[in-house]
């Protein structure tokens, strides 16, 4: 009887250690894969930067990408910016009214838009509209041997495909952010002043008093990093696309999801960094975050 119990205890311990081993093995695999991907993306970025400084991309491919990233994204960024400004006004008005602070609504809406919502929203729209398309196009080129054809004809695919897309994202996302900020402010103003009847002069005065040049700079500065993330992650996913339609679809989805997660993570780091910069140069005005 005792021997049976001991044997069953031993087998239970054996099973537990076996399943623990399996879990550890699976997690180890995930960690190793993550480190590999990170290293791979870093090398990919380095090669792209090297090609960017060593050889100028052709104006034809550059303009084509500038048009796709900048001009074609403008309407959707402007529209979402307007709606987010309106939603902010709608959500905040009743909360502020109970405290009698509705005239301060302009400051809150403008500050939220120029520091956070404008750049993040423009980046999200860009990741969805342009990033996924980049991954899908490059992925299809990979699957149909068009990238091999580029190499065989003496064109470097990083220089030909990635550099123009990177430049288009990095150089044009600030303009899209400004558009999102502006349309958001217009949308917020419309809802606050026209619909809720807040005093027009008070609304503008509070916006002007509370929001400074540094807040505007913060949004624009962050957007450059967001643009770089979108281009690098999307092009990397396209280049490492698996074969078949499913592979291309997966590359497009991961390009958006990974870009979005990285945008939010980098946003936190940049906010803390910029707050540090602000506190260093303007110690008397206090922290913008804490």
């Amino acid at each position: 009887m005792g021997t049976t119990r001991k044997t069953s205890r031993d087998s239970l311990a054996g099973r537990m250690s076996q399943s623990f081993g399996k879990v550890a093995n699976a997690w180890g695999g995930v960690v190793i894969q993550g480190i590999n991907t990170l290293g791979d993306i870093s090398l990919f970025t380095c090669r792209m930067l090297m090609w960017m400084v060593s050889s100028r991309p052709r104006s034809g491919t550059l303009m084509q990408n500038f048009y796709a990233v900048g001009v074609l994204s403008l309407p959707v960024v402007a529209l979402t910016g307007t709606f987010i400004g309106m939603v902010l006004a709608l959500q905040s008005y009743h909360q502020f009214k109970t405290m009698g602070l509705e005239s301060k609504l302009g400051a809150v809406i403008t500050m939220s838009l120029v520091r956070e919502l404008g750049p993040v929203l423009a980046a999200t729209m860009l990741a969805g509209r342009v990033g996924s398309a980049m991954a899908a196009v490059i992925g299809t080129m990979r699957v149909t041997e068009q990238i091999d054809a580029l190499v065989a004809m003496g064109a470097n695919p990083i220089h030909y495909l990635v550099v123009p897309r990177f430049l288009a994202c990095v150089l044009l996302i600030p303009a899209l952010t400004i558009m999102a900020d502006f349309m958001g402010i217009v949308g917020g103003y419309f809802f606050s002043v026209i619909v809720f009847g807040i005093d027009h002069a008070q609304y503008l005065k509070n916006s002007r008093d509370f929001v400074g040049g540094f807040d505007f700079f913060t949004g624009i500065f962050k957007s450059v990093f967001f643009g770089a993330i979108i281009a690098i992650v999307s092009c990397y996913r396209g280049f490492h696309c698996q074969a078949g339609a499913e592979g291309v679809g997966r590359a497009a989805t991961s390009a958006f999801v990974e870009s979005f997660v990285m945008i939010l993570a980098v946003d936190i780091v940049l906010n803390m960094f910029l707050d540090g910069v602000h506190s260093t140069f303007w110690p008397t005005s206090g922290s913008k975050l804490f």
């Binding site: 196009v137 041997e145 054809a149 065989a152 004809m153 003496g154 064109a155």
Partner: protein, 297 residues
Amino acid sequence: MVTTVISKSPPSDVAIIETQGLSIRFGRQIVLHQITLSIPRGQTVAIIGESGCGKTMLLKSLVGLLPATEGTVRFDGCDLKSLSEAELTKLRRRFGFVFQNAALFDSMSIQQNIAFPLDQHGVPPGATAQTLIEQRLMEVGLPTSVLPKRPSQLSGGMRKRVGLARALILQPELLLYDEPTTGLDPIMSDVINELILRSQRKYSVTSIVVTHDMHSARKIADRVIMLYPYSRLLPGESQVLFDGAPEGLEECKDRRVRQFVRGEAGERLMELLSISSVSHVDETPRLHDTIARREAE
């Protein structure tokens, strides 16, 4: 390792491309093992072999599209491994590659597709881009009316011919074809074969053609190389089962070569069925176990 060179074309001692102990592996999977070949200038070589034996990998490794895991590839005496990316890019001006599905750029017109190598390397002196494009298009039997069209608007045979025109635009010294006749009707396949022969005669280009099409191999090749999947070789065997003139294929002593050339399934079907039944047998004890456990419960 077989390195015999039997040719029916004018003999040329100088090898334009050669491999020495070339191996390609992906993790534990060995695709090519110790391939040593020497291809003289002006020769047309057909590489045959069943699917998955590494023909396309060999073709891609010859132009540096796929780096060799071991061994060397030399083009005109120059080791591809020792070249920088910029030097390799410059060297590729001397290659032309016709891809299996043409690999034309979807986002460009036919004109832009054919002109792409000219954009990269410049127009040769004494010619204009437009003249060269129209001339190559004429050589592959296509009208100039296709120039503004997109690749998606052309048939498979037309796309392959545009791919050939693009590969020929800079008059390369070495032309590589990856299954040029696959997916085409017999007449269009023969048109492609004729075009390969014509370009070889006109430009004295060295051609390496990967194909499954024995009619095509016999028609265009001076020399045939047959590869065999590494995983099915006997210990110590070379992956190159045959290397010689196409006339020698039928008389080859190796049964596997004759079987491939004649297109006979032979024992291959039984092999495949036994592999699938082994995986089925593997599952049986587990299934029995599950049933026994359920019954005990």
